[in-house]
Symmetry: C2
Amino acid sequence: MSIHTPILHNLQKHITLTKAEEDHFISILTYKEIPKKTTLLAEGQACNQLSYVHSGALRSYCLDESGKESTIMFAMADWWLTDMYCFLNEKPSMTFIETLEDSVVFSISKLHFDQLFHTISGFERFFRILMQNAYTREQLRTIENLTLKAEERYYRFLNKYPQMAGKLTQKQIASYLGITPEFLSNIRKKQLGKQ
Amino acid sequence: MSIHTPILHNLQKHITLTKAEEDHFISILTYKEIPKKTTLLAEGQACNQLSYVHSGALRSYCLDESGKESTIMFAMADWWLTDMYCFLNEKPSMTFIETLEDSVVFSISKLHFDQLFHTISGFERFFRILMQNAYTREQLRTIENLTLKAEERYYRFLNKYPQMAGKLTQKQIASYLGITPEFLSNIRKKQLGKQ
DNA sequence: CTTTAGGCTTAAAGTAGTTTAAGTTATTGT
DNA sequence: ACAATAACTTAAACTACTTTAAGCCTAAAG
């Protein structure tokens, strides 16, 4: 059971690798230990890393003109994270990525990423499935945002990501749901009364 | 310039096909002429078709318990459309798809779709890129829904999809933006005053 | 050609969510 | 151990958006 077992296992969810492919894949990974509350990507920076979360938890968010934060997504162990649009199109990042707790990630540079489609025969398939899942998940989020009230969205969030709830502040959860922290506090008070 | 030129051209945006691959691809397409305001997929039905829009315009939407419509997406010439989650996972459809005007589409069955990954060497890449674009577009929509007011979302919609604006009713546009038709009418009146 | 249903508008009243501001409780850095 | 900063709460005033209901206009169906 090496340090690379989980990330290899993640690939093996969707594709089979030869021993040579495994070795090559491991050779391009950059191991990073990142303390809690560290920003590893900031708006405007080159977004040339795709990261696999080995342990810990991270969050990506953007800021509007007025300085208001919106949490785009979070990632815990066994998830992948980057500013996907900017990574794929080699644009300066439009988002921030920060650790929520001490984390270990394996990063792949855009250069190596592009090569993986040639060096690992199943990688195209692997990444296609990753993108399929990300797309359908994001579409569900859109629909829930359009059709549900904040209270219902909050309970679905708690239900879908119970582990994340403890790692995020209320302000961060509110910014994922698209409401103010004050209103989330309101929703929670209401629920306490019911119990 | 055959009827298949546009759909082949669409594949060739991202991959190169041999003549044999082109012929095979064309052989699995189902040509469909569909009159205006026809429902070609309804909630609960098997969603086993992925459709390329040759001409015309379509819309996908879902209904909540109370009967309220939400427009998930629309598609015009040269776009692809299905209930992606249900198509990929072979679940009964959660959405409706209807034509907004007389349309011609080429459909691919899930069975043929699965085979394409083996019969066309670049298809995995093609579909990966399709999913990448769909994902990053959807993520942008989420952020705009969370951060912008309805008025701003409406003007960005008009700006991004000027051709669609004329094909959708105000009710449908409102349901894409996540507001009531009455409030959209309000926004439009306000703008008329400014001009 | 006429009826009817749907699409669009208007306006008044209601509600979900925001803003501001103040106070309380944790965390963090020195 | 202390001060400073951020997290969470509360409440009152405000605004964005919804609901309801009525009226008008256009297009499709008989």
